[in-house]
Subunit: 408 residues, 2 copies
């Protein structure tokens, strides 16, 4: 099923080259198609790595191995297979990943444990070893490609290539960050997984890089949802090659650490939002801001309860300022709430305050806002200082088309 680009798609941005990072793509043929489906990213010696992974109890071998590799903190290569997620494939799936790690290590002259692998696509079919072997061999000899080619090669049924960049000053030297991502929840039948990769020429100690990624993740990738369905393979990795002349960052107190974190957070936020913009059947991009909650984490959970409610999502698809459904979603979140201090707004206009609808609120600008493509929902719990912002898309006939009408 070839889908047209999402109406919320964004053009692929100008991404800077990152010293120490070389990407190559080939058509390994994981499916019967002619597009590139195997991406090999070579990383300079000394590159540090951090990662966050799916919390699924049924995670793929790639994720299990990746967790160990990230703990060691250094990386020399990344391989991404598209078209087969290799999830739920038992020991045969694990063998295929190990084969790729060893083959790439041999080609680049590094340790197999420094080769990270991701796979995305059909669940339950072991990654074919012969296809992978020929693909990796071709990739080791291929010409380097640009970011957009790599962003396309890691995609499955994504409808547009997604990337983001930022820079930061560290001790007077500018460092660059570039990231690519694929996915939109589980974007088509048998296809799964959000995979995101961020590269920087800054020099960052692995422990700090992991702390920064985990912190940024909790405010970005952990705050998006398309359909509430968590993949078995979700992975976000950040690689720091250390090839810039900027001084190394080892702790939060080091010169430039705050600036680097701000840049990392910015790239994570942009990539996360791009996934929502490619959400299955999405016609509206929805930002939900929760304030006055018992804690930031409580605010995030309330935001996700609203963002995952099919009744809220369908109401917004229909341009309906249905704040009663927002009340429902707040109420079911299982978080501290006081019905009589709850306020709800759309597009910055309160429609209910302190547990009661505002009978005289101005409906016209609210209706106009909901007819647009970028929707905001404001919720004030009125009980504390916790706040969070989450992002989602609406639920339309397109979602059903993509997920129910495809196979028979």
């Amino acid at each position: 099923m070839d889908l047209p680009p999402s109406p919320l798609a964004r053009p692929f941005p100008e991404l800077p080259a990152i010293a120490g990072v070389t990407a190559r793509t080939v058509n390994a043929g994981y499916r019967d198609w002619t597009r590139s489906d195997l991406t090999l990213v070579e990383l300079a010696e000394g590159t540090t790595v951090a990662g966050v992974f799916t919390q699924s109890a049924c995670a793929s071998s790639e994720v299990e191995l990746g967790r160990e590799q990230v703990r060691a903190g250094t990386a020399r290569a990344l391989v991404v297979n598209a078209g087969n997620s290799n999830a739920f494939t038992g020991y045969r799936g694990r063998e295929a990943v190990k084969q790729i790690m060893e083959q790439v290590a041999g080609g680049l002259g590094c340790e197999a444990s420094q080769v990270l692998v991701s796979s995305t696509g059909v669940i339950g079919v072991p990654l074919p070893k012969d296809v992978a072997r020929a693909g990796v061999e071709a990739a080791l000899a291929a010409e380097p490609v640009g970011w957009e080619e790599a962003a396309n090669a890691i995609g499955t049924t994504d409808t547009f290539a997604k990337g983001a960049a930022a820079s930061a000053m560290i001790g007077g030297t500018r460092v660059e960050l570039a990231g690519i991502i694929k996915g939109s929840g589980m974007i088509a039948p048998d296809m799964a997984t959000m995979l995101g990769y961020i590269f920087t020429d800054a020099k960052v100690a692995p422990a700090l890089l992991q702390e920064m990624l985990s912190k940024a993740n909790s405010a970005t990738f952990s705050c998006i949802t398309v359909d509430g369905d968590t993949s078995t393979s979700d992975t976000v990795l950040v690689f720091a090659t250390g090839k810039s002349d900027a001084p190394e960052i080892v702790s939060w107190n080091d010169v430039g650490a705050d600036a680097f974190y701000a840049a990392l957070l910015s790239v994570c936020r942009e990539l996360a939002q791009l996934v929502v913009r490619d959400g299955e059947g999405a016609s509206k991009f929805i930002t939900i801001s929760v304030s006055g909650a018992a804690s930031d984490e409580s605010a995030r959970r309330i935001g996700l309860s609203i963002a995952n409610s099919p009744l809220v999502k369908t109401a917004i698809a229909g341009g309906d300022a249905n704040w009663g459904r927002v009340v429902m979603a707040v109420g079911k979140a299982g978080e501290p709430a006081d019905r009589d201090t709850l306020s709800i707004g759309f597009g910055g206009i309160w429609v209910a305050r302190d547990g009661q609808p505002l009978p005289d609120y101005d409906e016209a600008p609210v209706a106009k806002h909901l007819a647009g493509e970028e929707i905001t929902v404001e919720v004030d719990m009125g009980i504390g200082e916790g706040r969070a912002t989450v992002w989602t898309c609406d639920l339309t006939h397109g979602y059903i088309d993509i997920n129910a009408d495809y196979r028979s």
Copy 2:
């Protein structure tokens, strides 16, 4: 929006009259319609009551008051308003409920605290006191009606009237149970709430009746889902008039207690399943059986994670034996799981065993099963003895039609 009956609808069954129970219905006019929308059920002196209510933090005044009333354990009347849920209406909503309680108590010569009230419909509009007052006055003088009329009068956009009956022998005397219910998640824009009422002529002490209802609830109403969206007003009440000649049941050890519980459980299960059969846009009735889990509660949560997954629900709508999505939903449930002992089947045929797909399973009977209207999904976790069964419906274009395309 008048919807045709759900394709999964069932004809209204023969329900026995329950000694001590008299139902009356009138058109109070909560909306601009001619149907009955106020139901008054008079209960004999000595009637005991038990109830379970929504766990929403934004529950309606009816629910808040109902919790107190059920704790007292006796009831003389039930009033159900349809067309206005009176939820999120602050002190004005509470005043309207208290007015109804006092008016009915005056008419029947009982305590106001013995009059239970439920409301279902639009959120955020205080129940109009004048409409309610005239409606109650008319209902107190109206002719008694049968169960089907009452089942229709408590409905909002339900597409068919729903009822169930059972009987039990207590010490050689037969007692009867009759129940009615409305709802299917939140069945149409601005409409909410599952409301269920069960009546019996058995004599059951309030504390035991509550224990039995809570236990039955955890295996029936707590095991159904249409869209995972919990209403602000969900309520199930059971009333025992004690008008049969059977001996009173006070403890689980009393003669007939087990038989009565079995009958109550049967009525609860049938009513719960009828709600799923009226699920928004439902075309298939899905039974998910989880075994081998760490505990029964863990099995229930895993079952609900599967039942609430839009990807699983759309796959079944499309007749697709997409067990990879079931793996995904098991993995995201947050419950103990071991990918390598997980087995999944459809229609009683295993398609994946012990963490791997069965390459040679017979696809033809599985495809035939999924083309039908009654679908079963079997999941064995392979790690313990916990088991649960949950019920849901598929997710179709009908759900989007009902919830997004209605208002603009």
